[in-house]
């Protein structure tokens, strides 16, 4: 196992670790406003067209969204277990929990892909094959525009998270996540939980709006 030195601007490794975590918290604050602005536009339009949005939302594939909630929540659990294993220095557990997290993330993307195909089959993709039902005119398309901006953006964040997990697996292999210093993993964990939380907010906007 290699012994890590802090970078030149830090006095200690723990200062370096705390700073990295603060950096991720600050980043999450900006991300909150990024997704927040999008969800804000959604609520403005939903407020203007409540019936039309409810009608358009009936086409959203409920089972896909719900399964994905389950997958992501579970993946946050496995991520925390990975961090716990890192803190205890159980390297094999750490690796396995990280692999489980990545697996759940990949499953999410697959379900999402299936869902997008179903949306295509339902003629719900704006600018490709969207057909406005009379009950949802004129704003039904806005709902699906929101959907097709929000879900790919979220999926993109998730893919970045998967990349970070792979990077963590590589660092586990290299042996530089030790009980003395595993802050990078905690930072990735924060990010992963944020991506999870975004989905929790998108879920009711997309899947429950037409089903009250």
């Amino acid at each position: 196992m290699r012994s890590l030195q802090p970078e030149i601007q830090y006095a200690t490794l723990s200062q370096q670790g705390e700073t990295a975590q603060l950096g991720m918290w600050v980043f999450i604050a900006t991300e909150t406003l990024f997704f927040g602005a999008l969800i804000f536009t959604y609520f403005i339009y939903r407020d203007a067209y409540p019936k039309e949005f409810a009608e358009a939302g009936k086409d959203a594939v409920l089972w896909c969204g719900s399964v994905n909630v389950g997958l992501l929540l579970t993946s946050s659990l496995t991520m925390v277990l990975a961090i716990d294993a890192a803190a205890d220095g159980r390297r094999r557990h750490l690796k396995n929990w990280l692999l489980a997290t990545a697996g759940l993330g990949i499953a999410f993307v697959c379900v999402k892909g299936v869902e997008w195909c179903l949306d295509l089959a339902h003629h719900d993709v704006p600018s490709i094959n969207f057909i406005m039902k009379p009950a949802e005119a004129p704003a039904g398309e806005l709902f699906w525009v929101f959907y097709f901006i929000a879900t790919p953006l979220h999926a993109l964040h998730l893919l970045i998270g998967l990349g970070l997990i792979l990077y963590m697996l590589w660092r586990v292999r290299r042996g530089d996540l030790t009980p003395a210093y595993y802050a990078p993993l905690e930072v990735v964990g924060l990010y992963w939980s944020f991506v999870d939380t975004v989905w929790i907010f998108l879920y009711p906007c997309i899947y429950l709006v037409g089903r009250s």
Partner: protein, 545 residues
């Protein structure tokens, strides 16, 4: 050569000399210089567009084709706002000075700092692409539905450039916030921070919380154009006013992104050249933070004539008046700091005084346009143009040049020629006022902004304005000449040529690669100057050194 430099610590400039040691550097000081190069380039691009605009407006019938004129003022706005003013002080002076001023060896995330520069240049390339392919004519505000449905320029490329540019802003802001929270030297408490650090801290918060909203807004515009959907198209259920709300939610705070660091710079300059502690330090910090916070709740004052309800107009008007309170506190405190000081009128001080005067005019006229009834008359006239140029150019650019001269010896290890610098500072002040004061009058008379022609009776004021612009151009090109000369031939600078109190002056000029030989320990507040004999106590407790 070795015999000459022996005994001196190797500076960050000379420590390595390969091209890759610059392009892959993680040193905040080198990255600051890289940013200097980029924003100077864009300053002159935006300046060329401004020159063409003023040449065009010297005669009522003009010089450019109407369509070209539209593209020129759009390019001027986009380049100056996102590619010069917003990054100007934070990425250059902030990048260079902040770690030094708080006694740190670098920023918290040096790789992110370097990435910010690359992302900035990438966004610049995308913008240049839009420019070379024919530009856009929407104005820098990209108002819908014109930008989404009718404009025939490269709107997607330009909005993409602004989107990418936002990442650079966010990376830089994030680095500063985290650095100032975690990397202060022992003894550097929050209430001992120099006001420049407070200015950068407050502006970073605004960058972090406002920029993502702009990113989403321009993304929606680009998506609407690209996918042919109707996010802001009223015929398809969209709301064009929603765009304005979201755009100004960022773009009003953006004005404070420009002015807050400038306020920080000016506080450093005034104390040093007055040899007096700042008047009301605590009030200054609270003023910075409250300007940052209130800036998020005033955006509606850009929309008084856009069809928002009278009740929200009144509330936004009131909130805008509130911003004037901390702004006035700052102006009064700077003025009070002059009292019983021993003032030297060196170039940085001239720029700082220019800042205070021009910012005051810009601020007071801001109250006029924030008044709903008056704004109905003044909205979209040259009065508004003059008002915000007093803040952004008279304020921010003056402070940028003041700070550049003040820290020049620290950055380069050379002194600049004082007489030339004073002349540039005076020319800036004279040229600026001559350019923009007539625009207040034109606006009051009713000359609308963005029109390419005007009735002949307004020509006299427009000629004055264009004449002022040519003086301003000289004042901006002049430093390029004498600072360039100083880089090669200027007198070598001592570590603390201005006898200033900040920690950045307690290391060599230029500083060594990691700033300090040993981490400094802070024992004193900022600005312990003595007006009686001009003496001072530096923040590490050194007396007159």
């Amino acid at each position: 050569m070795a015999t000459i430099t022996a005994g001196l610590p190797t500076s960050y400039v000379t420590s390595e000399n390969t091209i890759s040691s610059w392009l892959l550097t993680k040193d905040h000081k080198r990255i600051a210089l890289l940013f200097f190069a980029s924003i100077t380039f864009f300053f002159f691009i935006g300046g060329i567009a401004a020159t063409l605009i003023r040449m065009h407006l010297a005669t009522p019938e003009g010089l450019l084709q109407p369509d070209i004129y539209n593209r020129m003022f759009t390019m001027h706005g986009i380049v100056m706002v996102w590619f010069f003013l917003i990054p100007s002080i934070p990425t250059t002076l902030g990048n260079f000075i902040i770690p030094l001023a708080i006694g740190a060896h670098d920023l918290a995330f040096p790789r992110i700092n370097l990435a910010s520069w690359y992302v900035f240049n990438l966004s610049g390339l995308v913008l240049l692409y839009a420019l070379i392919m024919g530009g856009i004519d929407t104005g820098w505000t990209f108002y819908t539905p014109y930008s989404t449905l009718f404009a025939n320029g490269y709107v997607i490329a330009a909005t993409l450039a602004v989107f990418i540019n936002g990442f650079s802003s966010i990376m830089t802001g994030l680095n500063f916030v985290v650095t100032i929270h975690r990397l202060r030297a022992p003894g550097m408490t929050w209430m001992r921070l120099p006001l420049f650090v407070w200015g950068i801290y407050s502006v970073s918060l605004v960058m972090l919380l406002a920029t993502p909203v702009l990113a989403m807004t321009v993304l929606l515009v680009a998506m609407e154009r690209f996918m042919g959907v109707g996010i802001f198209d009223p015929a398809r259920g969209g709301d064009p006013l929603l765009f304005q709300h979201m755009f100004w939610f960022y773009s009003h705070p953006a004005v404070y992104i420009m002015i807050l660091p400038a306020m920080g710079v000016v506080s450093e300059l005034i104390t040093c050249y007055v040899r007096r502690p700042i008047f009301g330090y605590t009030g200054m910090t609270y003023a910075l933070m409250s300007i940052a916070i209130i800036s998020f709740f005033v955006w509606g004052h850009h929309m008084f004539t856009a069809g928002i309800s009278i009740y929200s107009a009144v509330v936004f008007s009131l909130m805008t008046f509130f911003v004037a309170v901390p702004s006035a506190i700052k102006v009064f405190n700077w003025t009070a700091s002059l009292h019983k000081g021993s003032i030297t009128f060196d170039a940085p001080m001239l720029y700082a005084l220019g800042f205070v005067l021009l910012f005051t005019i810009g601020g007071l006229t801001g109250l006029i346009v924030a008044t709903v009834a008056l704004d109905v008359h003044l909205q979209d006239t040259y009065f508004v143009i003059a008002h915000f140029h007093y803040i952004m150019v008279g304020g921010t650019v003056s402070a940028f040049f003041g700070g550049l001269h003040y820290w020049w010896p620290k950055i380069t290890g050379r002194l600049y020629p004082e007489m030339w610098a004073r002349m540039a500072a005076l020319l800036t002040f004279v040229g600026f006022n001559l350019t923009f004061f007539p625009q207040f009058i034109l606006g009051y008379l009713g000359m609308p902004r963005r029109y390419y022609a005007y009735p002949p009776e307004w020509q006299a004021w427009n000629v004055l304005s264009s004449a002022g612009a040519s003086i301003l151009a000289v004042a901006y090109i002049l430093p390029l000449g004498y600072l360039g000369w100083s880089l090669l031939r200027g007198e070598r600078a001592a570590p603390n040529p201005w006898r200033a109190t900040g920690l950045e002056w307690q290391t060599s000029s230029p500083p060594p690669k990691h700033n300090f030989e040993r981490t400094p320990v802070v024992t004193a507040g900022p600005y312990l100057y003595d007006p009686e004999d001009g003496g001072f106590i530096a923040q590490n407790g050194a007396v007159n050194a």
